[in-house]
Structure formats: C-alpha cells, structure tokens
Amino acid sequence: MSRRFRMRSLLMRRAGWQLAGLGLMMLSLIAGIGLLALSGWFITASALAGLGLIAALDIFTPGAGIRLAAITRTLSRYGERLVTHEATFRLLEDLRAEVLSRLLNHDEMFLKGLRRGDTLSRLTADVDILDHLYLGVTGPTVAAVALSLLAVVLLGLIDPWLALLTAGTLLVLNPLTVSSTRRLGRAPSQALTQALPDLRSMSAAGLEGLNELRALDRTSDYADRINEQSIRVVDLTRRLGALDALGQALVLLTGMIALWLALVLGLLIFAENQISAPVLGLVVLAVLGLNEAWLPLPMAWRKLSQCQSAVERINTLSEDPAALPRPECPELWPEKTSIRIDAVTFRYQPHQSPVLENLDLDIKAGQTVVVTGPSGYGKSSLALLVMRQVDPEQGRVLIGETDVRHLDPDDLRHRIGYLPQHPVLFRDTLSANLRLADPEADEYRLTRALERVGLGDFLADLPGGLDTWLEESGANVSGGQRRRIALVRLMLSDPDIVILDEPFESLDGDSARQVTAALDDWLTGRTALIISHATEILPSHDRVISMTVKEAFE
C-alpha cells in the first residue's frame, strides 16, 4: 500500500465534517473579500454621485451588503474554527482506533520492541501531529485554489486578460513558491529528523555519565561535542525558519504583483470605458483581499513532510511481519495441561552467553511449582518459553504432549494466565482496569476479589471507590498495590495454566500472606509456575526448584 493512498484515505473519512469546514473557510474568505470589494465599489460610486457624475445612487443595498459581509465574516470565521477542530478530533479518533487494531495483530516480541526507547511516545505523537494535515494543509489549500478559480471566472466576466493576469498569476506563481520551498526544505527537514534524536541521545548519555566524564576530566570536551551538535540542530531549524520567511515573502510578493497588475490593467480597461469607475474600485480591492487566502500556505506545506513521515512510521509499525512463525494448522489445546521443558538451551542474543543451558523441568497438570534463585539465572525466560514468546535454541517446550510451536498462539494467550514482573495498569478507572479480564463482573464480585488479596482498606480509602481514576501507569498506587490489582485482574479470568513472575515483590509480610491464601484457593486445579526470588512466604506448592549457579565460563 502506498503512502499517498493512506494519506488520501485518511482524508476521505469524516468527509461531511471536512466539507462543512471547508465551506465555512471559503465563506469567511469570500465575506472578507466581499467586504473590501463592496466597500471599494461603494466609496467610488459615492464619490462619483457626490460630484454629480452619476445619477442617484441606491445607498441601502450596498450598505446592507457591507454590513452583511461584516457579520458573515465574523460568524463564518468562528464557525469555521469550531467545525474544522471538530473534524480534526473526529479524524484522530478514527486514527487511534485503527492504529490500536493494527498493532493488536503483532506478536509479543514485536510489542516488547515497541516498548523500548521512545517508540511508543513517538507513535502517540505521530497520531497527534496528523491534525495538521487537515487543519493546516488540505483545508486552506483547497480554499485558496477554489477561491482563486472563482476569481478567474468572475473577473473573466469583466475582462479575460484581467482574470488571467491577476488571479492567474496567483494560481501559477503561488503553487510554484509552495512546491519549491517545500523541496528546498526537504533536505534540512530530513537532516533534522536525524540530528535532533542524535542530540537527544548525546545529551542523555552526557547527563547520565557526568561522573564518568568528570572522573576522566572530559566534561568540557563532551560539552563542546554537545554544543557542536546543538549548533548543527539550531542551524537546520534556522534554515527552515529562513525558508518559511522566504516562502511567505514570495507569496506576499506574488499577491502584490497581482494587485499591481489589477490596478494597471483596470486603469487601462477603464480608460477604454469598458468598465465603470466603481467596478475598478471593486476589482482592485477584491484582488487585495484574495491574497489573504494564500499567505499561510508555504509554511503549512513545508510541515506536510512531518505528516508524511508520521504516516510512514505508523505504516511501518503496523505492517511489520510477525517475528515468530505461526503454525500452519495448529493443534488443539491439550486436555491435560502439564508442562515439560525438555533439554532447553536459550539465549536472548546470539553473542550473549546462554541464559538457560540444557534445562529439564516437568510440571504435572494441576501442580504448582515454584522456581527460585538469584536474579540473572533465566527464571523469567522460563516464563517466556512456556508462553512461546521466545523459541529455544535447542530442546522443546511441551504443553500436554504438544510442542508449543504447534499450538495456536491465541490459545497460548488465552489459556495461560500471566502476571509479568512489571504488570501494566491503564490510565482508567479501577473497575475498568479489573473488568479488562471479566467485563461481566459486577461491583460485588470486584470488591470481594480486592478484599481477598487485602486491598479492602485500600478500596475503602479511595475517594471514588471502584470508579477512582488510576493515574499515569498507576502512579497514585504503590508498587505493592499495583501488583495486587494486576493479580486480582488475573484472578478474575479463568486460565488453565498460571505463570506468576515475582508475585510477592514489594509486598510486606501481611499482604503477602493474604495473597498466598487467595492464591491457594484460585490455583486449585490449575497448573502453576511461580517465579520468586524469595522463599519465605509461598502459596501451597508441590515442588520448589532452585536455579543453581551455573559454571562460570572462564
């Protein structure tokens, strides 16, 4: 799918709103031009009538017209801004939904990659930047072109040369200016998309490593390097700013030339008595007014490249192929959900030493097995292997008698309940966060579930109860509460296999005991793998496996 098609298809949405906005935009421009043109006509006609050069003048119609234009101008301008903003918000609404649905088709490793660095923030920003597409580019452009064409037609009724040389000049020279400033701006814009992140990562490294730099007495050298990069960035933005100024000046110049041509040609036609004096006044002021429509365009079009790269990035993210191959005809989910890890060797990156080497592990269906050991021994990678978020280098992972590679990834997602080490809570209400797992759960069920893990008091203290809004990534709840909310959410679902990664981290003794009691109940009948570096408090289990110290490889 080409990028242009996507941009266009984006614009085709909410066409009704967009057309309404465009209509109002044009109406306000027409009213502005009409106000000036009518005033020019009226003053010229009045002067002639006052001198007795023309017969009696109807002052009421033009007077009313002038007032109407003034009022229309104000109202349509106001309406235009409301409608175009409404249209933009609706457009972004659609876009968010679409990005979300596209990304939901990716595999876990891809999503993990998405969470690294600033990809997510950039994606969020990319969606927001697209508001410029309609508000700044297409709307004003269509309005300016349509209005100029209208002017060609209307002026053509008076004199074809006048039409071609005034409005025609605008229609030829302005697009030329716009496209050439855009072309000239492409190189610095492109360079900036590289230079700015470079500056950012350089300054991040510099600030993180201030002590490293001081210890080696390299602070001022590094500051010089940052300054050089900063100068590069500032210089690029200065060039773009200068280009904007140039574009605007050229559009202004074009407008001024059109105005001059209108005056000169008008005077010539007037001298030949082809038009009356009031029409001459009207023409000059109308062409002056027409210029307003073109002024914002060069900068708007230069910014279009930002929109384009945003669309491109959204497309790349949502079109990347899945990293792990899907089985062609997946096998049925096994009835007995035992887990067997068979001589598995696994490493995250080819150049790193293996995290797991020749590991065997058996968990019978319905058993609870606890895996302990210090950090860095591949406990968490065990969880990823069972869920098939990663594949082993050697060996097999079986659920029942089936290799996980032959199972439907959707089954693996839905039948395995997973509490990650850093569970995600959404900026939303507490109840909405919990109902993610069970949309049907009523308030009583949610309250009971929270009480069972010792969050009863926490819930009672919340100002809005279950409807309390959880702040950024759950910032208004402590680490322990967060983990327990995520656990409650998990316990509202009904998986066959449960994997808990450090469920007791940042819980004090009492809460940990409450959580284990709740887990004892819920884990009955499910196959469970509990990863925990602490072994003091654990739910009832069949086995504890300790990941022992591997042989150091030197």
């Binding site: 801004r81 660095g117 300054s203 002590n211 900063s230 000169v264 006044g281 959404f426």
Partner: protein, 577 residues
C-alpha cells in the same frame, strides 16, 4: 554554612512577569531595535502603498488623468510593493537568526551549568526530564523569538503609524480607528486570555488522551491475553469522544475572544466604508466631511484592514508566547542550582606512579533537606591497600565515594590524597590521581574503542587492546564482526549489563592511576559478570599496584578486600575478618 539550593519558591522564578523579563533578557540586544526599525519600514511602505493606489484611482477617475501620466506613480507603486515583500522577508530572516542565537547560547549555558551541578544532584530529577528540558524546551523558545517578539513590534508600530496618518487625513476616521486603539490592549488581554486558556486546555486534554492511548499501546499484550481487543478499542473511542466533547466546550468559549477581534475589524471597515461613502454623497454633515475625496476615502479604506492585520497575526502567535513562558518556567530553576564543587586554582604536580595513601578526617556531609549522611568520619588507608566499605543501601557509602572522587565537596573535614589536600586539586590533576567506576555503566555514542579511549583520545590501538584484554572486553568483541570498532548506542549494538560494565572498567583502567574508587560496581550484575569484574580488578592490580576503595555489599568483594569497614550512623567501623 553551606549554600542551600534554590529550591524554595522564589516569586521571581515562578511569576509570569519574571519569565517574560528573563526571556527578553536572553534575546540579542539588537533584536528589539531591529524589529522596531523593520516594523517602521513596513509601516511606511504600507502607507505609501495605500497612498499611491488611492492617488492613481483618484487621478484616473476624478481628475481624468490619462494613464500615460500615471506611469511614474505606477512604477513607484511596484517598487513599494516589492519593498513590502522585501521587508516582510527580511524580518523573517532576522528573527530566525535571533532565535537561533538564543537557542544555541542557552543550550550551551544550560549544559555547562548542569555539568557544574553534578550527577548527584541531578539524578533525582530524572535524566529523561532533563533531556527534554535541554532539547525540547530550548527548541520551544524558537517561536517566541522568531515569530512572537517581532510580531509584537509590528503590532505596536504599524497600527500606531496608520492611526496617525489616517487622522491627519480625516480626524473622524482617525478617531474611529483610535477609538479601537484603547481597545487594542483590551483585545490583546482578551485574546491573550482566550488563547492561553485555549492552548492550556487543549494541551492538557490532548496530553491526557495521549496518555490513555499510550497506556493501551504499552499494554497491548495484556489486552490480548484477556481477549479484550474489541472492548478496549471501543473504550479508546469512548475516551476520544468524551475528550473531544469536553475540549470543544472549551474551544467554543476560547474562540469567542478571537471572534471579538474579527468582529471589531470587520465592523470598523464596514463603518469606515459607510461613513466615507455617505460623506462623499453629502448625506452627513458632521466631522471633516468637506475634505473627503475619492482619493482620501480610498486611502483610509485601504489602510483599515492593514490596521487590524498585525493584531490578528499577533493573536495567532499568542500560544507561542504561552509555550515559551512554560519552557522558561522549566529551564530557569535549573540555571539556579548551585554548583557541586568550587573550582580550585592551585597547581600541583602529583606523583602518579605510586599507589596513594588516603586520609580522611572529621568529614561531614548532608544532602539538602536531609539529615547528616556522614558525621565526623575518619579513615586512614595506607598506599596499596584494598578497602571495602559495606552497609545497607542508603547509608552513605556512595556519598563517601563521590566525596573521595571530588564529585561533590564536603561540608566539613578534610580529604588528603598522599599529602595533598584534595579540595585544592584542579580537575585535570585529580583525574590523573584517581580512577572511578560507578554502579551503572554509561556508554557514550561512538565505538567500543572510543569509549575505552574516552580519557585519552590519543591512546594507541595497542593501549586500547591491552585494556580490553585485561577487562575481558575482547572476549565478547572477538565474536563481533567489527570487534572493538562496533558502535554502541541507540542504533548500535545492545550490550548486557556485565559487558557494558567491563567496557567501563577498561575505560577506567586504560591508564594506571594510583587510586581506584569503586561505587557499587557489581550491584546490577549477575554472578558471572560480578566475578569477572573482581577478577579483572585483581589482575589490573597485579600489573600496577594501586590503592582501591570499593563501596559494595557483594560477598565476592569481601574475599577480595584487605580491610572491611561497616558504615554505621555516618561513621566507619572496621570489621575484623
């Protein structure tokens, strides 16, 4: 008395007037006069343009002047029109230049200052936030200097000039515009308040919506595990909808203020047109109608929209001002942070060939707003000893290492390296005496070799390789296609914590130093990497004896150390093994 950092709310630092004054003081001194001169030039050209057009029309229509006699005026008009575009472009170029110089200087000043403040005090603020301030917030000032400030000058000079000229033609028309002149500050306040509220609200709403969306993207996996794809999509749509409705409610009000400006502009033009028309027709008697002619009438009419145009543009740029004020509010407190360590001036020639004895006496230190971390701390270390300092996290181990390294200066007491007072050492001399390794290694953009050679750019390839071998960097670089020339950083190659720490150690040990300071060097590492780090340190020591002081609670470090101290209540107690 130690100086307290400027964290207490200083009204000058938080008030809007304070931000404005500061923003204006950052601008190059020539910007304001240049803006005014250019605005004045533009005003003159605008008035000349209106005058020439009106005169030509008057001459042709009323005076029946043949067009042949008008050519000189018409060519003059063409010149004026070109000049107008020229002034406009020039103003843009000049202000883009001014904005660039402000941003360049400010970013340099800010980064230099942050270097002075030091890692210890910056850490609580979060690197991400600081990077945003240093980059995005400084860039946010662009629109203020490139657009808002010059437009401010235009909005003062051009309407002012037009009122004076119009009044000289027809005092009533001048009065009509002048009547709106006292309204201009009112407009501005109205527009300003509206625009500011608008940008604030819109920004907030958008940020919140962006946050909600960001969370869903972050939790895509969670959504899918619970089979909640469709539900969450409609949830996002619901949020978008309610945010749109709320934002639109605010916008309906906020847009009113600019509608008022639009209204005044349109009505003023309409009133002038009708007044001039009726005056020319002789229907009204009052005021200087007798002097009205087609020429003066058109002149006034042509100037009326030019009177309001700069104000309307200013209203459009008002949110640039709000953005700059917010950026100033975030940047300025950083510039007020006190430096961590005073500059010393004494020049000494330290002997870097022998291990260094370290003597600490009656050392006292407290972080701002916290109780004493170190109290009357004494420590004597003989040259070549390996000393371990243990204690629970937060007890001040790292603070002591930072003090010994000279990253921060003590409130009381004295540190002697050999027999030299550490506080009196210049940074280059200090760097030749002590090497330092921290908890989380920071690798800089560049290659692995660049990182190892950070302390000495002219280091030879064999020096780098020796350090890489010593710290077992070569072990994993040997497997990389580009070896030591593999780039690190965002787009480069990802290293495990242990590998990065080995690179950092090679960097610290590239040249032997008489004193090696280790600040929790292995607390973020797995056991293999930890063992490797301690072994590398031991090996390095076999080659060049050094005094080593390590803060760590690793059991491996205990095996390695000659003497072990426990940090208790801000003092050190030696533990007999």
């Amino acid at each position: 008395m130690r100086d307290t950092p400027a964290t207490d709310p200083d009204p000058e630092l938080t008030s809007k007037t304070g931000q404005r004054a500061w923003l204006d003081s950052q601008a190059p001194t020539w910007l304001r006069p240049a803006s005014f001169v250019l605005a004045l030039g533009e005003a003159i050209v605008i008035i000349a343009q209106a005058g020439l057009i009106a005169w030509c029309l008057h001459a042709a229509i009323v005076l029946d002047t043949p067009i042949a006699a008008l050519w000189s005026a018409l060519w003059g008009l063409l010149g004026v029109l070109i000049l107008r575009a020229g002034f406009n472009g020039l103003r843009g170029l000049v202000s883009a230049h001014a904005s660039a110089s402000v941003r360049r200087d400010l970013r340099k000043q800010l980064f230099d200052h942050l270097c002075q403040v030091g890692a210890e005090r910056l850490r609580p603020m979060g690197t991400g936030e600081l990077v945003t301030q240093l980059n995005d917030h400084v860039e946010a000032l662009d629109a203020y200097y490139a657009r808002f400030k010059p437009q401010m000058a235009s909005a003062l000079v051009i309407p002012g000039g037009i009122v004076v000229v119009v009044a000289s033609q027809n005092w009533l028309a001048g009065l009509l515009l002048a009547l709106t002149a006292p309204l201009i500050p009112l407009f501005m306040a109205l527009v300003g308040m509206g625009a500011e509220q608008l940008s604030r609200n819109q920004h907030q709403a958008l940020a919140r919506l962006a946050g909600v969306f960001h969370d869903r993207l972050h939790g895509l996996d969670t959504i899918r595990r619970f089979g909640a794809e469709a539900r969450e999509q409609s949830r996002i749509a619901e949020f978008s909808r309610s945010f749109r409705q709320r934002t639109m409610a605010v916008l309906r009000l906020a847009f009113l203020s600019s509608a008022v400006l639009e209204f005044f502009a349109a009505v003023a033009i309409a009133m002038l047109a009708i007044y001039i028309g009726l005056g020319l027709l002789g229907y009204i008697e009052f005021g200087p109608v007798a002097t009205l002619s087609l020429g003066s009438g058109l002149f006034i009419l042509l100037l009326a929209p030019e009177f309001f145009a700069p104000l309307r543009t200013l209203a459009q740029h008002w949110h640039d001002r709000a953005g700059a004020l917010a950026a100033a509010e975030s940047i300025r407190p950083l510039l007020e942070l006190p430096p961590a360590r005073g500059l010393s001036t004494r020049k000494v020639a330290p002997d870097t060939n022998r291990p260094l004895s370290v003597s600490v006496s009656a050392l006292g230190f407290a972080w701002p707003d916290r109780t004493m971390v170190l109290q009357d701390l004494d420590l004597d270390i003989r040259a070549g000893e390996h000393v371990l300092i243990t204690g629970p996290s937060g007890c001040g181990k790292s603070t002591l290492i930072s003090l010994l390294a000279g990253f921060i200066s003590a409130d009381r007491g004295r540190i002697e390296l050999g027999s030299i007072d550490q506080a009196g050492l210049e940074s280059p001399d200090l760097a030749r005496l002590r090497a330092w390794l921290g908890q989380t290694p920071v690798l800089f953009p560049g290659t692995i070799a660049d990182n190892i050679a950070l302390g000495r750019e002219q280091a030879s390839q064999s020096d780098i390789e020796r350090a890489a071998d010593l710290c077992r960097v070569s072990e994993f670089t040997a497997r990389l296609p580009r070896g030591l020339d593999t780039p690190v950083g965002q787009d480069g190659f990802g290293f495990s914590g242990g590998q990065a720490q080995r690179i950092a150690l090679a960097r610290a040990l590239l040249e032997p130093r008489p004193l090696l300071l280790l600040d929790e060097p292995t607390s973020a590492l797995d056991i293999d990497s930890e063992r490797m780090i301690w072994r590398a340190i031991r090996r390095a020591n076999e080659k060049t004896p050094m005094t080593v002081i390590a803060a760590s609670h690793s059991p491996l470090a205990r095996q390695w150390a000659d003497r072990v101290f426990q940090m208790e209540n801000g003092r050190l107690v030696e533990i007999e093994e």
